[in-house]
């Protein structure tokens, strides 16, 4: 029961400001799996592979989620995941604890995602396939966690949600790569603008301006939706 709650809180934490700092799951091996990030990072830097795997498991759900949301393609998200964690693995020794570990990870991931988005812009033929909205029946045929999410909703709201979701998705694709990233990280990953600025290698003020531009563009595109 405890573990179920821990995992669920990890699932929902993507919408909170502390999303990237996933709560620890109960430890079967208290010495390692309950260790804090710093200990794990230091051990991984010294070549401990299992410590690195635990770090991956702490952060990879959010990384994959961000890549899926931004790129809208499972194949591209998979590439981003592999490229990001291999880069993290190779460069881990150069991490000097000058910023939070999750900020460092996000810096790597967002750069790779931005590259993908820019590549797509210059090659319009590489657009992701249009996502088929999941029907109400399919959604309720899902796994344990899906069903938990669906418990409090009603069919009409879900259908409306999918319609709005489709329009929001298409409006998001019209943003510039940087605006897209900022918007996704602020609204759907729940990150603070200061952290977003740091992850993008820029200032909070620049991230804020990107958020303003993105919001205005989206609002124009989605006018009349409500």
């Amino acid at each position: 029961m405890q573990s179920e709650m821990m995992l669920r809180s990890s699932e929902t934490s993507t919408n909170s400001a502390t999303a990237a700092v996933a709560p620890l799951a109960p430890a079967s091996s208290p010495t390692l799996s309950a260790a804090d990030d710093r200990t794990l990072i230091e051990r991984a830097q010294a070549g401990d592979r299992s410590a690195f795997e635990l770090l991956v498991q702490r952060y990879d759900r959010q990384v994959l989620r961000l890549a899926l949301n931004v790129l809208g393609s499972a194949e591209d998200a998979r590439d981003v995941y592999q490229e990001a964690f291999l880069k993290i693995y190779r460069n881990l020794r150069s991490f000097r604890f000058e910023c939070a570990f999750y900020t460092w990870i996000y810096r790597i991931v967002t750069n790779i995602c931005l590259d993908h988005l820019r590549r797509r812009r210059s090659h319009p033929e590489d657009q992701p396939p249009v996502l088929r909205p999941v029907s109400f029946e399919e959604r309720h045929d899902g796994d344990f966690f899906d069903r938990q999410q669906g418990t409090h909703s009603d069919p009409e709201r879900e259908v409306l949600g999918h319609e709005i979701g489709r329009k929001v998705q298409s409006a998001l694709q019209a943003l510039s790569p940087r605006e897209r990233m900022v918007f996704e990280m602020r609204h759907y990953q729940g990150m603070k603008l200061r952290d977003i600025g740091e992850a993008l290698g820029t200032t909070e003020e620049t991230a804020k301006n990107s958020l303003f531009r993105a919001t205005r563009k989206l609002r124009t595109q989605l006018e009349g939706l409500r």
């Binding site: 573990s3 179920e4 994959l64 499972a74 998979r78 796994d143 344990f144």
Partner: protein, 358 residues
């Protein structure tokens, strides 16, 4: 504290307010201004409404990876790549020279085959077309004794067990065909009567050979085994095929092949042998990605309608309990706890007295 709030900068501040980026003091200033100014109140209400609209969006991640299968696969691929990297010796000038050697190219090719199905399909087509043509010619000229020519038959004669054992590492070639057609398979049987046999996985004999390929991990290349699983997937109901896939799941050295075998077995009902193989993978596989996939597959089975009619292996509860307490992977521990909870509630609701079946 931000700059003084007025009507000209109100919209930006309202955006930050709706996004939850303002501290208590600045938020209070935004609200107080809205009470004095109708225009700004409308702006604030619009921003809050817009934020609510965005919250209704179903995120692509929820559609594209609803059951965490993609996450499991990504982890598995990453850890395997790291394993491969760790197995490689450190680079030196001599190492750089040897890295150009054919076996390194082969390893790189193998990784592409395993991790980039799209590229691998294209590459296999190209390489297969070139190598197949050249190799067959070479085979005719060099490998076979003079006076013992290759016989090409379109309807293969039954292949004996002894012949199966003589099929070499490079003796199986699968060529994808357009549309939903089963891939064309070409076999080079060396002994006792060298010949080339062609057909598709719809042929029982070819199916038997592909099942043999899947079940003998060490004898054939990873790419061929993955392709064979894909080719046999539509025939996964065939007991022989099912057995081979279960065997691959238990013993194949490559986690990507084991993952693919679990995926293929998803199409099969809740047969006891399949359940047993999946439970075995959950219990014993040393790759966490494979264990996650096995656990997800088990959960899927538990949710299926068929599950109420097919008994669950009585080891399931013990294995799930063990994983919940002892697995090194936190995700598996949590999901195992969920599965156990589901199992208990199903016991109470639907399974007749006497509990689960042996």
């Amino acid at each position: 504290m931000l700059a003084e709030l007025n009507c000209s900068n109100y919209e930006d501040r309202a955006i930050l307010y709706a996004a939850g980026e303002l501290n208590q003091e600045d938020s209070a200033a935004v609200e107080a201004h809205a009470q004095k100014c109708a225009n700004c109140a409308a702006i604030l209400s619009r921003e809050i409404g817009f934020r609510k609209t965005l919250a209704v969006r179903v995120e692509p991640a929820d559609t594209l990876d609803r059951s965490d299968l993609l996450l499991a696969r990504c982890r598995s691929e990453l850890f395997e790549t790291l394993d491969d990297a760790a197995a490689q010796p450190k680079r030196s000038w001599r190492g750089l020279l040897t890295s150009l050697a054919p076996w390194h190219c082969l390893r790189a090719f193998r990784q592409i085959v395993v991790f980039r199905p799209g590229w691998s399909a294209a590459a296999l087509l190209l390489v297969g077309a070139l190598a197949g043509t050249a190799a067959r010619e070479l085979y005719r000229q060099v490998a076979l004794p003079v006076g013992n020519p290759v016989i090409t038959v379109s309807a293969p004669a039954p292949i004996t067990e002894q012949e199966l054992e003589t099929i070499g590492r490079d003796g199986v070639r699968l060529e994808p065909q357009s549309g939903s057609l089963a891939p064309k398979v070409e076999l080079q049987v060396r002994s006792p009567r060298p010949r080339v046999v062609q057909g598709t996985s719809d042929d029982a004999d070819i199916r038997r050979v592909l099942a043999y390929v899947i079940g003998h991990g060490g004898q054939f290349d990873d790419g061929v085994r993955l392709q064979s699983i894909d080719a046999l997937r539509p025939a996964a109901d065939d007991p022989q095929v099912r057995e081979a896939m279960s065997e691959a799941l238990r013993h194949d050295p490559n986690p990507a092949v084991r993952l693919r075998a679990i995926e293929a077995l998803r199409d099969v009902g809740s047969a006891a042998d399949v359940q047993s193989a999946i439970l075995g993978a959950l219990s014993d596989d040393d790759n966490s990605g494979v264990r996650i996939q096995a656990l997800n597959s088990l959960l899927e089975r538990m949710r299926s309608r068929e599950f109420s009619r097919v008994p669950l292996d009585n080891r399931a509860e013990g294995i799930l309990r063990d994983r919940m307490h002892n697995d090194s992977n936190s995700y598996i521990r949590s999901r195992s706890a969920d599965a156990l909870g589901q199992l208990t509630s199903m016991d109470e609701d639907s399974v007749p007295s006497g509990g689960r079946h042996p």
